[in-house]
Symmetry: C2
Subunit: 387 residues, 2 copies
């Protein structure tokens, strides 16, 4: 187990009806709010009206930034910063999934930065300060509701990059599982795959002796395996939605990373796909994951796959370790397939054409991965195996 510093300061209000705390929480930090959201599902399900009513009853003034896309754009960030500056905004409330939250985080950081907010992503500037933000989560997937990460797409340069800031951690997040009951099947499946991928990126690690962290990671995986299919079959099952929602936060609030080297190669490869083809992040991850697993399986990594197979999938230990490992990989692929996820790149409209270019971009600065290093050729092979 490696050294670490634990800091998870976000207060989470979890459960049905927890929106009641909204005004009190916001007023700790400000009263002029930028309300950010996506395509308008919160207008259809009544959440928007509830928020506006709370704002009006509590003398909270607000501006809006809506239409934030999945794979949120730098253009939305710039638009948001402009609104904040023109209206002396002192708090940002992000209502949505990871895209809305990530976009809001960079608006919050960009507000205090004179240059181009893209600088935060290309290593030209570090995030030192940000407007306080809170979130109301409507999609269980990215974990952005409880961490300091943000991923933004720059459509001009066809890049999708991530950054981090301690000050980006939301002050509070309201997690009401009922808000996710109207999430369509496809997004529920993609969200489940995203949560599991976050766990894989931390679980598959060369660090030895982070036993507790590995067992905690398996707990989240087992929860996704239990409840992903239930939420798809019965979207209004509260326990399924609650367990997936809390899993999304636990999977990426730091708990599973502390004390370990992590991997993140699959995310690196997927970001290239969605930067160019704008595919759903969780779908891209699900397609790549089993092929990544097969590619990195070797004498140095096989024991970890055996651990995964036995502890997560209940596969019996047998003499041939590779047999156990391959069964575990197959279980993973079958699970995603069972959620209704298209499991090849071709099915999501990606052909061979730009694979070479994406493999080069993904490894431009350094090899990908902490579990096993991947160079350009490795990435290309994984892309090809995923076709």
């Amino acid at each position: 187990m490696l050294k670490f510093s634990y800091s998870i300061p976000t207060n989470v209000h979890f459960g049905k009806g927890r929106i009641k705390v909204l005004a009190k929480e916001i007023k700790k930090y400000g009263s002029k709010v930028l309300l950010t959201y996506g395509g308008g599902s919160i207008k259809r399900n009544g959440l928007y009206d509830s928020i506006v009513e709370i704002f009006n009853e509590n003398d909270i003034s607000f501006c809006e930034l809506n239409g934030i896309d999945p794979n949120p754009r730098l253009t939305s960030v710039n638009e948001g910063i402009k609104i904040c500056k023109e209206n002396n905004i002192d708090f940002i409330l992000a209502v949505g999934g990871g895209s809305v939250i990530d976009c809001s985080k960079i608006i919050a950081a960009g507000y205090h930065y004179e240059g181009d907010p893209w600088d935060f992503f290309i290593g030209k500037a570090r995030i030192k300060q940000a407007l306080p933000i809170g979130t109301i989560l409507t999609l269980a997937a990215t974990g952005s509701e409880m961490n300091g990460n943000a991923v933004i797409s720059n459509m001009e340069t066809e890049e999708k990059l991530g950054t981090f800031g301690e000050s980006l951690k939301p002050k509070f997040s309201i997690l009401d599982p009922t808000y996710t009951m109207t999430v369509p099947v496809k997004q529920t499946a993609a969200g489940t795959a995203d949560i599991m991928s976050h766990v894989f990126e931390q679980y598959f690690s060369p660090t030895e002796g982070a036993f507790l962290q590995d067992r905690l990671a398996e707990a989240v995986l087992k929860t996704c395996i239990e409840y992903g299919p239930i939420a798809i079959k019965n979207p209004e099952n509260y326990e399924a939605r609650a367990n997936l929602m809390w899993s999304s936060s636990i999977a990426l609030n730091g708990l599973l990373t502390y004390g370990k080297i992590t991997d993140w190669a699959t995310h690196g490869m997927e970001h290239e796909l969605s930067a160019i083809y704008d595919i759903t992040h969780g779908i891209g991850l699900a397609i790549l994951t089993p092929n990544w697993m097969e590619h990195v399986l070797d004498n140095g990594t096989v024991d970890k796959f055996v651990e995964y197979g036995v502890n997560v999938w209940g596969i019996s230990l047998e003499e041939d370790k590779y047999s156990v490992a391959r069964k575990a990989i197959e279980k993973t692929r079958e699970f995603f397939k069972g959620l209704g996820i298209p499991m090849t790149l071709k099915e999501v409209g990606i052909n061979e054409e730009r694979l070479q270019e994406m493999a080069e971009k993904a490894t431009k600065f350094r090899p990908l991965g902490g579990f096993k290093k991947l160079d350009k050729n490795d990435v290309l092979e994984i892309y090809k195996a995923s076709l």
Copy 2:
């Protein structure tokens, strides 16, 4: 899964040598420190000297309160409050295990309270404000390093009671596993039993659908089962000490409680034992636990014991649920025994004499337990079975 509010604000600095952050962390809050510790092991192992050197180099002045006993006394609390008031202390650094930390927390709260600090324990006053505290942990057991709980013994009234305050949560905790390498075998065993008991109190719950929390709880149990024996056999095994230390914090920082009704009957029963007989808390818990399990096992609880047996101990599912449950209980008893813990009350000097009195005191205000309610007769039976 029930509603909950998550708040774990303590910053943890984990790993060998993390004491380097001490001065910087303290200076966020103050510069006149009350340094609290126990029997002087920190003088023997050099930790005391390191702290004093850091204080001197960073212009941090300090007073001391030492000799804080296991099962910390109200008298120590009062002494500490007096020192704080006389010396305008603005920060408390607790160096030790749960006893030192708990005592320091009530000093911190008592500093801002005009009345008797025992009021916080008998429901006469609530903790609203406290001096900021930090901890350097030297024993993996109570989890006090990351929560707002404190337990204090009043020797006059022969009572050992607990309280809670949001403001009691340490601002930071330094968790260096090497500090626990000199913990004697008996205390290592008792600490492991204490951690496991904390998990049991939260795991055995009537709440359904807190699936993720239950799997997280099992992760901590498996870690204790893996590393407790290793730390006893090889006290300087870093991975064992690290995993036990981080388990102690995770077991009782709230993570396993959120969204669930919890039990705490075993702790309630044990507090009566140590209030009168001043036994080691973890030993008392280990003695009572298997007998509590046997007593509460019935048609309403058997499924949870089966879950425990299969998931934690790897017992095979079989048709007779009670057989699986009893095997799980036996495994628990054998595990504690294997750590070298005396598994009867008689071995720790407790006979039948005052069992009736303790059973009455334990249930004076209300029945014990959330998993299964225990009245006076239940408690007496469990005490008797533990003789």
